[in-house]
């Protein structure tokens, strides 16, 4: 006797929902496409406007101006030089542009969301389980819904990256706001500060370090996702790795990997420096 359990059509349901959303959210996806695409083009064009060597010098000078540290400055110069030397300059610029655009979008949405969650108990109660759930999903999964909305290509990659990298921005901002000592917000209340004054004058400045920690994580997550998103046509260093894997060229894959690590280290140090800046 065979008895077959009826299959719950979960996949079908999700497909139907996605179809519905794709059709009805066209205005939003179009807006997103425009912002992402224009942003990308602009940043890429800027970074490629001058000769790589000149650009490396400019970036190194900027890093020194921001950190005032010798180690990371030297590392930036040598690292970027190596990337250029390996013929990965254009791919790196492309990856960096993706990261920058995705991060900007992620924090523009994530920080305000985090602030709201930090100030409102019930928003927090809704947002928290969603964030927890998102964190357990493997990165690849984020690529799937991006395709029906944006097709293959860089905009879809940015979309997936934004979604994937936003949680830390929300989480840390929320945490930063909640960490502000109660006695200080109470004191602001006692002097008759309104919500906005309290936020701008007390809560945000005191949460700044924590928020910057979240931004740092967002950037790192974005970088890792941009590499994975090469699978749906993100281009850049990720697709160098991807191509090397497919052709079993371990050397080329390794070179592209080094490029990603160099980029990650420079970004991380820069952001840490920004976060720890006093007042």
């Amino acid at each position: 006797m065979s008895f077959e359990l009826p299959r719950i059509p979960l996949g079908k349901g999700i497909e139907a929902t996605l179809d519905f959303l794709v059709e009805n959210l066209a205005f939003a996806t179009r807006a997103f496409s425009t912002v992402a695409d224009q942003g990308l083009r602009f940043i890429e064009a800027t970074l490629l406007a001058v000769h790589p060597v000149l650009m490396i010098v400019i970036v190194t000078a900027l890093v020194f101006a921001m950190t005032r540290k010798r180690g990371i400055t030297v590392f930036t110069f040598l690292g970027l030089g190596l990337i250029w030397n390996m013929g990965l300059w254009v791919a790196t610029v492309s990856t960096l542009s993706l990261v920058v655009v995705a991060t900007l979008i992620a924090i523009t949405i994530g920080i305000p969301l985090g602030i709201i969650a930090g100030l409102s108990e019930w928003v927090y109660r809704i947002v928290r389980p969603i964030l927890d759930f998102m964190q357990t999903l493997p990165a690849f999964v984020y690529l799937i819904p991006a395709i029906p909305f944006f097709g293959l290509g860089r905009v879809a990659a940015i979309f997936a990256t934004v979604v994937f990298s936003m949680p830390p921005a929300i989480r840390f901002t929320n945490l930063g706001i909640r960490q502000v000592p109660k006695e200080l917000t109470e004191c602001a209340d006692a002097f008759g500060a309104d919500r906005w004054q309290k936020l701008i004058k007390i809560q945000l400045p005191l949460a700044k370090t924590t928020i910057m920690g979240g931004v740092n994580q967002t950037v790192m997550l974005a970088l890792s996702m941009v590499v994975i998103a090469a699978m749906i046509g993100a281009g850049g260093l990720g697709s160098e790795v991807w191509r090397a894997i497919q052709r079993l060229q371990s050397g080329a894959g390794f070179e592209a990997g080094i490029g990603i690590v160099i980029l990650a280290i420079i970004l991380d140090r820069l952001l840490q420096q920004l976060a720890s800046k006093k007042r």
């Binding site: 200080l184 004191c187 002097f191 008759g192």
Partner: protein, 397 residues
């Protein structure tokens, strides 16, 4: 005029304030309420008023609800029950925006734990209240500088709170409230972290401020000496409830309960008892010009005293005459009393503390005159009287 009226205020912390409130109103002790409901009664049915220009000091042991009570006045804590009127306005009825404006207009607050903003410099901390009100930048800076100077921190404006000692931080908190020049100052253990010298200066400063600008001040203190010095009246709390309200004198001389008596025992009574409180009424005086030696002698005999104070027509004190010298005058047939009048006599004002009276009394053979600012004789202090008064009031001197 009544500035703050607190009526049956209750503040309960916990999840079931209604249930706890019912128990409280049934007269259940607060330890029982905690056992039964898990709710903490911070303030249990407190009523008192603070008049305009008055300093009321709230005292009590740690956990007796002092901080909770002042926080109810500006509604940092929402009272569970009761009413609070400030300038006739029921504070509990104010909407969000009205409450905000009300706080801006009426209150300056000093916090027990200072609550300075670590990311703002000292001057920016002091400016905070004015900044929130949208004050003009230059005016704001000037007021903040003045306030900093008042608390003795001139020139420290550019430092950050973490660079200051505890006592200095507390003074920044003080300056932040003073900069607003508010009607009402709520001061939660505002001087607790100060060293004795600065503390005394600040107390004097506060008394000055209150006298010259008619501030209404609710001051929380652990320190009875401080409370007695600056308080016009004291409110003594125990377990969230009032055990006694009264002037320093009343609290000292007529403690309502054993708790208050214990509280008061510690205090050095000679610092608190004043000339006014130990003096007695002068039974009789001689009037300069109208009373001659004979009349003066008769008055002394009648009261069985060896000396007699002499006052002028306008009742101001002229001096003292002694029985033996007056008798000589009578024997010689003189009729002018002023021949034997001693004018360089010891006078004290009514608020002279008893501790200062001791050295004065030491080598006096006649009573000390207590006079007011117009030199009018209010009363006299004799040596025995001073000791009796102190002994009666339980001093250990």
């Amino acid at each position: 005029m009544e500035k703050i009226v607190i009526k049956n205020v209750v503040k309960i912390f916990g999840d079931h304030p209604k249930k706890a409130l019912d128990l409280l109103l049934q007269g259940e002790p607060i330890s029982e309420i905690l056992n039964k409901t898990g709710n903490v009664v911070g303030v249990a049915d407190v009523s008192f008023t603070v008049n305009e220009g008055e300093i009321v000091v709230v005292m009590g042991l740690s956990g007796s609800g002092k901080s909770t009570l002042v926080r109810c006045i500006n509604r940092l804590f929402e009272p569970t029950a009761g009413e609070i009127y400030v300038d006739g306005q029921d504070v509990c009825q104010l909407g969000t925006k009205e409450l905000r404006d009300f706080r801006r207009q009426k209150f300056g607050m000093v916090f027990q734990n200072f609550a300075l903003f670590p990311h703002r410099s000292v001057i920016n901390n002091v400016e905070f209240g004015l900044e929130v009100q949208g004050a003009d930048k230059a005016e704001m800076r000037q007021k903040a500088e003045t306030a900093l100077e008042m608390v003795g921190l001139k020139g420290w404006g550019d430092k950050y709170p973490s660079e200051l000692s505890g006592g200095m931080q507390q003074r920044v908190g003080l300056a932040r409230a003073l900069a607003l020049d508010p009607d009402i100052l709520l001061m939660d253990e505002a001087f607790s972290a100060l060293d004795p010298l600065i503390r005394r200066d600040m107390q004097d400063e506060l008394i000055n401020l209150q006298q010259s600008m008619q501030k209404t001040i609710v001051f929380i203190s652990h320190d009875l000496d401080e409370a007695l010095k600056i308080g016009d009246r004291l409110v003594i709390l125990k377990d969230g409830a009032v055990v006694q309200i009264g002037t320093p004198e009343e609290i000292l001389t007529k403690p309502a309960t054993e708790y208050v008596r214990k509280f008061v025992e510690e205090v050095d009574i000679t610092k608190v008892l004043t000339a006014e409180s130990v003096m007695k009424k002068c039974q009789d005086v001689a009037y300069l010009g109208s009373d001659g030696p004979n009349a003066a002698l008769r008055k002394m005999k009648k009261n069985a005293i060896a000396s007699l104070f002499v006052v002028k027509k306008d009742h101001s004190l002229a001096g003292i005459v002694f029985a033996n010298e007056v008798r000589d005058l009578v024997d010689k047939g003189e009729s002018d009393l002023s021949i034997v009048l001693h004018t360089d006599i010891q006078k004290v004002s009514p608020d002279t503390p008893a501790s200062e009276l001791f050295p004065i009394m030491q080598d006096m053979s006649y009573p000390v005159a207590v006079v007011n600012e117009n030199d009018r004789l209010l009363g006299i202090i004799v040596k025995g009287l001073l000791f009796t008064a102190i002994a009666e009031r339980g001093g250990d001197t």
